[in-house]
């Protein structure tokens, strides 16, 4: 539906951050994991599992998650459900209790849900001091299951070097955290420890794993209110806080002016005046187009002799480069005049046919104007003049047939030459060719013979079709291989 440019009413949004691209995904995932954990409405079975000497609280198996996703999100293929589940894990909403790598497996592996406190939608950007405190704290805990992995030990060593001066402070903070943790209930601690670890697995991922916190820099600007960003899990922030390069201040929203509304009104009036087609007609047209071209679509109708990418044989391209057009290619010229004009061999055939009828000036004019629009700016004035002389001036060599209204308009345009000087004239000539020259071309022996493969293009010695060899400024027949356009 048409909407005016800079639609004033869309300037105000409730919370700009909620509409940021990342947040949209987070909210969708949050909806999914909330539903998954809701046992009243068919959520996954979250249980405490007895293992060896202890209990594993609050876990669910990978296959239960996969089953739930397939059932509740209408996913037919388990592979797709595993992929989606792995992404939800990678974003930090669910995690394997015994692995740093955040991925989902369709088996008995145990997973736990992340605490809302640690959800990415809280705009976490934890700093390295925080991470240092975390790793330091881990080394203070005497449990085998909490030993640092190799990459974590390396990270810790690097951080110790980087923060050498304030390591005492970090150590103290880590000790304080250990004290706080000790006061908590044993089961609660197991859960919280794992959630905290999963949080760091998102923000300091295992080397080789995708860092899902990376952002598309084009979207960063509008992303965050610096005040909302959370930088520390442990309530500690780095002293010197350089403004993060991604947090550029966003421009203040421009107030809508009367002029904006006037422009919108003009635009809307133009849209109301527009003659539109009914959906049924549009649908028929789209269907007709695809049906006509489906035989040319290599994804649907295998290419002959073969698709080079599949067979590793470039024969198809070699055939197309040769100037002998296939029947299929010639048939395509009959779909619309644009198809003939688009294909260099088709264009060549069309022009030759018109030359044989001594009526090629229209097509040559059209081609000349196309060429004009492709020229560098500095060449435009000269070309405009040349086209005028060749095709439109009184007594022009290749005079084209324009109605008086178009002719007058064009002569006015020529006084202020530009790339679009001949736009009006070109449109008229295009319509003329479509209804006249093009229709005759399709009926011609030249075209029909090619279509029915009765004749090859280059079997005998080259024939001169151009009536004025070398004297037209826009094309010359080289008598050998093809028509060349300057």
């Amino acid at each position: 539906m048409a909407q005016a440019p800079t639609d004033p009413s869309s300037a105000e949004t409730a919370d700009p951050e909620e509409s940021s691209p990342n947040m949209i995904v987070y909210r969708k995932i949050e909806d999914i994991v909330t539903r998954m954990q809701d046992d009243k409405t068919g959520g996954v079975p979250i249980r405490t599992v007895k293992s060896f000497l202890s209990k594993i609280p609050s876990v669910v198996t990978g296959s239960d998650i996969v089953q739930w996703l397939m059932k509740n999100l209408s996913i037919e293929d388990a592979g797709e459900a595993i992929h989606l589940g792995s992404l939800i894990a990678a974003q930090g909403y669910v995690f394997p209790i015994s692995d740093h790598v955040l991925t989902l497996k369709d088996d008995g592996t145990f997973y736990r849900f992340q605490a809302p406190y640690f959800w990415p939608s809280n705009c976490w950007e934890p700093e390295n001091t925080d991470y240092a405190i975390y790793l330091c704290k881990r080394t203070m805990q005497n449990k085998a299951r909490l030993e640092l992995a190799d990459y974590e030990a390396e990270n810790l060593a690097r951080l110790q070097r980087a923060f050498a001066r304030k390591w005492e402070f970090i150590f103290m903070q880590a000790e304080a955290q250990v004290k706080i943790d000790r006061k908590k209930d044993k089961t609660e601690r197991k859960i919280l420890d794992s959630q905290e670890r999963a949080f760091w697995d998102v923000h300091r991922p295992v080397p080789g794993c995708v860092n899902t916190t990376e952002m598309d820099i084009r979207k960063c600007r509008r992303m965050k209110n610096p005040q909302k960003v959370k930088k520390s899990v442990y309530g500690v922030t780095e002293e010197s806080q350089p403004q993060s390069p991604v947090h550029l201040p966003s421009q203040p929203v421009r107030k809508t002016t009367k002029e904006d509304f006037r422009k919108q009104i003009t635009f809307l009036n133009m849209q109301i005046e527009r003659h539109c087609l009914k959906m049924s007609k549009v649908a028929e047209s789209l269907i007709a187009y695809t049906e006509q071209y489906v035989e040319y679509d290599p994804f649907i109708t295998p290419a002959e002799p073969s698709n080079p990418w599949i067979s590793d044989d470039a024969a198809l391209w070699d055939i197309e480069m040769s100037k002998e057009p296939s029947q299929q290619r010639v048939k395509r010229w009959g779909f619309s005049m644009d198809e003939v004009l688009k294909d260099p061999v088709g264009r060549d055939q069309f022009l030759r046919f018109l030359e044989s009828e001594f009526s090629s000036e229209n097509l040559r004019f059209w081609l000349a104007v196309q060429d004009l629009k492709k020229r560098p700016l500095q060449d435009v004035t000269t070309r405009v003049e040349e086209i005028w002389q060749e095709f439109l001036a009184p007594g022009a060599q290749s005079a084209i047939n324009l109605d008086s209204h178009s002719y007058e308009k064009t002569s006015q345009n020529v006084k202020d030459p530009g790339r679009y000087t001949y736009e009006d004239a070109q449109e008229h000539i295009y319509k003329l060719m479509k209804s006249d020259s093009y229709a005759r071309f399709l009926r011609s022996n030249a075209y029909q013979d090619l279509l029915l493969a009765k004749k090859k293009l280059y079997s005998l010695e080259p024939r001169l079709y151009h009536k004025r060899r070398g004297s037209c400024s826009w094309c010359w027949w080289d008598g050998g291989g093809g028509l060349q356009l300057l």
Binding site: M1, A2, Q3, A4, P5, T6, D7, P8, S10, A11, P21, I24, V25, L73, S74, E80, H83, L84, V210, I217, K219, R221, T257, F261, L268, N269, Q271, I272, C276, L277, K278, M279, A283, L286, I287, T290, E291, Y293, Y296, D297, P298, F299, A303, N307, P308, W309, I310, A314, L316, W317, D338, K342, K374, R375, P376, L377, Q378, R419, Q426, Y430
Partner: protein, 394 residues
């Protein structure tokens, strides 16, 4: 286009009461009949003085309502309903046929050469590489002075490439095959924006480039002189993508932006001729249907949509409950029957454009798919990803 002829009404002018040929005119959303002299006077005199912000706003609102009414009258059927009679597509076997490795960081953009096998790709690390993707050989490489090269394009002649990104510029590099070539030496700065360059495309010639930018505008440039030929204002936020209409005679292009709008522009006048706003989030990619009568869009709202220009409305939505990540890049197969879309969930979904259903899901990339283009002859498509690689699928 059929011609309608206006019947000439003769009578007393609603403004000056003189008996004259009358023309219909809209004054404060009401239909009036003015003589041509009064129409002219109305246009030039400060009738506007009596218009307040509120009255203009309400006029705009009522026009919007009228427009919706008019469009609704034409909405007699859905595309997928009419398409029920179309034969269903068979099973597809699409695989990665080539993997191009060589970028050191996220691949952000790619474009095909008209020769159907060469491509240019650009990356976050500032590198722009030209490959013969059939052999997977790298043929040229240049390092840009900035990181995040978000846009790149191949010239129609195959003799040059254009690229840009955080430098706010679009630069053109001629491709040479001389030994010891220093591509950077022959670089030509063409476009200058006031924010990042998000997309660029040559028009039908090596001599003009169309650009889109984070500064909210699009622009057309003369490559030789670097002169701005036309600028396009209207988006209310960053413009993220653009695509030129495929017609031989057309002078239009479509752009999509962070304002959730897709806008169609007249390249001659710089005016927006049509505008569509149905997405719920940024439009990352727009691409014309091969006939030029419609275009598809991919958005952060996890949907792709088809808009028809003749109906002036959205005619199809391609979405699934299980697809929750944004679509970053879309392109059609040659006949327009298939829509390939790359997503931020690392997958590529293939949609049946007419029926609206998903035909296939392709796994392979290990991070977001950021760019996707079908080759010029439709024999394959190429996808680029944040996993540093490009893949050719067929």
């Amino acid at each position: 286009m059929d011609q309608t002829f206006l019947a000439i009404v003769f009578g007393p002018c609603d403004k000056c009461s003189k008996e004259k040929p009358l023309r219909p005119v809209s004054v404060k959303s009401e239909q009036r009949s003015y003589c041509s002299l009064c129409v002219e006077m109305m246009a030039t005199e400060g009738l506007h003085e009596n218009e307040t912000l509120a009255s203009l706003k309400s006029e705009a609102e009522s026009l919007k309502g009228k427009l919706e009414e008019e469009r609704a009258k034409l909405h007699d059927v859905e595309l997928h309903q009419v398409a029920e009679r179309v034969e269903a597509l068979g099973q597809f076997v699409m695989k990665t046929r080539r993997t191009l490795k060589g970028h050191g960081n996220k691949v952000l953009c790619m474009d095909w050469c008209k020769d159907k096998r060469r491509i240019v790709s650009s990356s976050q690390d500032g590198k722009v590489i030209v490959w013969d993707s059939f052999t997977t050989n790298k043929e040229h490489a240049v390092t840009m002075p900035c990181t995040w090269v978000m846009a790149c394009a191949y010239a129609p002649s195959g003799c040059a490439i254009a690229c840009g990104g955080l430098d706010n510029k679009c630069s053109v590099y001629p491709l040479t095959f001389e030994k010891n070539e220093n591509m950077a030496a022959k670089k030509k700065s063409v476009a200058m924006h006031t924010n990042y360059l998000s997309a660029c495309s040559f028009t039908n010639s090596d001599m003009q480039i169309l650009t889109a930018s984070g500064d909210g505008t699009c622009a057309l440039w003369d490559v030789e002189s670097g002169q701005l030929l036309q600028s396009f204002h209207g988006h209310g936020a960053d413009v993220l993508c653009l695509d030129l209409a495929p017609s031989e005679t057309g002078n239009t292009f479509v752009s999509g932006g962070c304002d959730k709008k897709a806008m169609v522009w007249d390249m001659r006048s710089g005016q927006c001729v049509q505008s569509f706003e149905t997405h719920d989030s940024d439009i990352n990619s727009v691409r014309y249907y091969p006939s030029g009568d419609a275009f598809a869009s991919g958005s952060d709202d996890a949907t792709c949509r088809l808009y028809d220009l003749r109906a002036d409305r959205e005619v199809a939505i391609y979405s699934k409950e299980s697809i929750i990540f944004g679509a970053s890049s879309v392109d059609f197969s040659l006949s327009g029957r298939l829509l390939f879309a790359g997503y931020n969930d690392y997958t590529i979904n293939v949609w049946d454009v007419l029926k609206g259903s998903r035909v296939s899901i392709l796994f392979g990339h290990e991070n977001r798919v950021s760019t996707l283009r079908v080759s010029p002859d439709g024999t394959a498509f190429c996808s680029g990803s944040w996993d540093h690689t490009l893949r050719i699928w067929a």
